[in-house]
Symmetry: C2
Subunit: 218 residues, 2 copies
DNA sequence: CAAGCTATCAAGCGTTCTATTGAATAGCAA
DNA sequence: TTGCTATTCAATAGAACGCTTGATAGCTTG
């Protein structure tokens, strides 16, 4: 029957998008792109895979319409295709956390002991009052591509060296890529070791941006 | 490095959920479950695949936490796991429509000429005013499992035979499983052939329910 | 236009996924 | 118990996928 063929085609087309989310390596690339656009080589290096392999995965993501590609001189820069794509990735991630115990177990193994958090609304309120210091502990390029308004950039590896920049008597809030990024956890632990009051934002930059909170772009 | 192993595990766990959405056959089952819970055999028949095959796919969906299973005597009834799962499925479907031209092409082939639509808000308003007749053209079991408040059930194959039930001078709105379900399109075309004023709801039952509009459940 | 990067292509190989088949199991009814 | 039905399990063959390797194409710079 012709109509059933057409219906099949419809589901096949939708499955193309599902397949895009079906490989861990691809998801890792996507997670990086949720922070900032990057070239193939940067992505390959950051995710520890070969350039050719990363290129293949990126093409798969591109074919599914999840990422865009732009030639910039000799490099090709990939980026999230838009808010829809970002929203979908976060929804998938959150759903898998909610439904699959393994995700939480893997996360706990990875993140270590949990640290105190602060929600988006609370943080925003305290930022406007000015009684909290907000630190972006992601790599500098990601900060440069966009960050929470009022944050200062101190990549995690530089934290100890630049402790003097942080007022010792004010509370510090650290944030990074998202709830499963270890940077903020680690930053808070180290800050507490120096006797400061510190918490981490409960999620990260992409969630903040999607929530429509004040940002500093580009 | 241990931390990178743990991070891999995290992405692998999330990819489990992605894989669940990576097969057309599975998506077809999911689409049916978005309307109403069903037994393995019913699902297999409705989607035109063997029972064993459907069972395998349903187990995969269950392992990903997208559907629930309940034993009912000799049968096993599967159902959507919750609003989260439904929301994720609809989000994936809509994203693939937005990003992949093929989906739209496949849809057009399947649905035929487009017919006039009415939005959720408009329909609700006119329903309360009482100047429109709402018809659910899905199979009867799906209507029985839940439907829009105030709708009457006339499955598409019975439409001609039961035309007398519909007032000839009032506008008729037909709805079915969703924007890619052909029933409502076809119903509107047939109603117009009889000289009536008819439109279709722009999407379907699951979208209505998720939007929190008035429903009649079970 | 040649050299040097970056990214993609093409082929190959091992692994995983899918659908089919036939056998096994669980609940129900006589 | 013995059938009967609905579902799952197990084994298998074929297709699709994922990663690697080496070659190719595009762009920039000297």
């Amino acid at each position: 029957m012709a109509s059933s063929d057409a219906k099949q085609a419809l589901f096949e087309a939708i499955a193309l998008m599902g397949k895009a989310f079906a490989s861990p390596r691809r998801l890792e690339l996507l997670d990086l792109l949720a922070q900032a656009p990057r070239s193939v080589e940067e992505l390959a290096r950051a995710s520890g895979q070969s350039t050719a392999n990363a290129s293949q995965h990126l093409q798969a993501l591109h074919a599914a319409g999840i990422v865009t590609r732009t030639r910039e001189g000799t490099r090709v820069v990939y980026a999230m295709a838009g808010e829809d794509a970002l929203r979908l990735w976060l929804a998938l991630r959150d759903a898998s956390v909610a439904h699959l115990g393994e995700v939480e177990r893997a996360a706990r193994d990875y993140l270590g002991d949990d640290v105190e958090t602060i929600g988006r609304e609370d943080l925003l309120e305290r930022l406007t009052k000015g009684d909290v210091v907000l630190v972006d502990v992601r790599p500098e390029e990601e900060f440069a591509a966009g960050h929470i308004e009022g944050a200062r950039s101190i990549p995690l590896p530089e934290l100890e060296r630049r402790l003097a920049e942080l007022p010792p008597d004010q509370e510090i809030v650290a944030y990074c890529r998202g709830p499963f990024c270890a940077y903020a956890h680690e930053a808070v632990r180290r800050l507490k070791d120096t006797g400061r009051k510190a918490r981490r934002l409960e999620d990260g930059w992409p969630e903040w941006r999607l929530a429509g909170k004040p940002i500093q772009a580009h």
